[in-house]
Symmetry: C2
Subunit: 315 residues, 2 copies
């Protein structure tokens, strides 16, 4: 079986100019779950595909994902990623911009190594996915400053920013290995809905997860008024008086502990958690239903377990 | 004959989110010579190619070129481009970063429309070119702060930053239209050397051109110690005393007019202009010699005229 971390390590970043390639090596060495290339490989395994044949596309998706993190960190002024200083902190903004650009090009370079007969389709899908992710990041940035954001807007944003990449990873792996059109679509829908479920679970864990196991900063989404599934659901469900109370808290920018306690209490009063859990379960269940359209083999079992693990995760 | 400006206008940028696509439309509407897509079309015409077939690649090269300008302007903190505020000034840095990223993806989207049998090669070349340009921009940024930069380093940098794009435009156009390998290489070499000649001519015109026709700011390369072919040749040719005198002037950051006059006088004393003109003429002549390996038709004649025009341009 292909070892994704080893494959990533074996990409050569010791080239000149070092100022361009060292930040790329640094970014890719920072680990992460390697979920996207894994999904591509599972998609291929499901159809008995040759993993070596799918590997370039799998790696392209991981390099692309890390490119988005690199540039997003510049835009969000994030200083830490996976426990280490971000590239624009360790080096500077220009390095982060240019090395990020080069990572995007490297992703396409990896992609160009997929079997030639599959390349045009894989490239078109990759472009659509990449476009979706840029659009998602743009909406995410706009939402911060926009007065009204509906839950629907939010779902669309996370679909673009997170889900299309998971969906496309599965579909691309399956396609290269010979999945037919209906199966490609089922893989895509599985990835899309598992991505939505994952992101919503993330919102829930930020507020209700055990900080020790969830591993996020104590100052979470509530403190910075992040427009999450919980907050947007609360704003949509609340009667005028409760909504006013909630909006008062959104104006508070100190007293973090007090704010978290008060907003969580409001969420509890409105039954927001179970409401949002229902949405998450809906997406998990749509994802699982797609599995019925796919070969019932070990790879499908792996996807089923992944879906269940995501739905029940504590961190 | 295909109208490049009309083709660019017909690309649809009125999509949502506007915050992502409007800066792209703004950048592409700012004009410029459209030299890169023109070269791709000339390369195709030389081999009787169908212009419509080459157009997507030609547009991809123009969109890519404008992407590099957009991100370079952020990195260089340039405030004006083609007489208008740059994107990061008119909007902000985040917009410039993300819209730039999307432009790079759009370039690949256009590229994916070339005939499928030609796509793998065209994509590989495009990736190599894009990598070269990022490396060139990295060297360019590093040179600013590096003590010693040789003329060779400089030539390598401008080859990467400017020439490979012109070279690849011609080669890609010719390849899609059916040029054989030797012809592809001749087109590439023509573009490479014409690009070098063009860049060196730019350095010469900055100092010796008529500011009225050259249209550049009065405060040119000399004021900001830009490491140009002229300055690097002067530093390499000068005897110790003259070199020390030149280096004294590099420490002056006011008295612009006096500095320009003094450095220009040093250049004249060292015979730098004719030295650099010789390099330029060498590259123009290598470019022209490549034309002998290519079909002697109207397209070749156009390239010959282009080379002569570049070599004799006053602006």
């Amino acid at each position: 079986m292909v070892d994704i971390n080893k494959s990533i390590e074996s990409l050569n970043w010791t080239k000149e100019p070092k100022g361009l390639y060292e930040p790329i090596a640094y970014t890719l060495a920072s680990g992460g779950k390697r979920l996207r290339p894994q999904l591509a490989l599972i998609g291929a395994r499901m159809f008995g595909g040759n993993e070596e044949e799918v590997l370039p596309a799998a790696l392209a998706l991981e390099v692309f994902h890390n490119f988005t993190l690199l540039h997003d960190d510049v835009m969000d002024r994030a200083e830490v990623r996976r426990g280490r200083p971000t590239v624009h902190v360790k080096w500077d903004d220009n390095t982060a911009i240019l090395s990020g650009d080069q990572m995007l090009i490297e992703a396409y370079q990896l992609l160009s190594r997929v079997p030639e007969s599959k390349l045009p389709q894989v490239l078109r899908w990759f472009n659509e996915m990449a476009t979706g992710i840029c659009e998602g990041q743009q909406y995410d940035m706009e939402f911060e400053h926009r007065d009204h954001v509906g839950l629907d807007d939010y779902m669309k944003m996370i679909e673009l920013k997170t889900s299309v990449l998971l969906a496309n990873a599965l579909r691309t792996g399956g396609f290269i290995a010979g999945a037919n059109e209906a199966q490609q679509e089922a893989l895509y829908q599985f990835g899309l809905h598992i991505g939505l479920a994952f992101q919503i679970q993330d919102d829930i864990l930020d507020v209700y997860g055990d900080p020790k196991t969830f591993g996020k900063a104590i100052v979470g989404d509530i403190c910075c008024n992040k427009k999450t599934a919980l907050l947007l659901t609360a704003l949509e469900k609340a009667d005028p008086a409760t909504k006013a109370e909630l909006q008062q808290w959104l104006l508070v920018h100190d007293r973090n502990e007090e704010k978290i306690a008060a907003v969580t209490a409001l969420y509890n009063r409105l039954g927001v958690r179970s409401e949002v859990e229902k949405i998450m379960e809906k997406h998990t269940s749509i994802a699982l239903s797609q599995l019925n359209l796919l070969p019932q083999n070990d790879a499908a079992e792996q996807l089923r377990k992944l879906a269940e693990k995501l739905a029940n995760r504590k961190s």
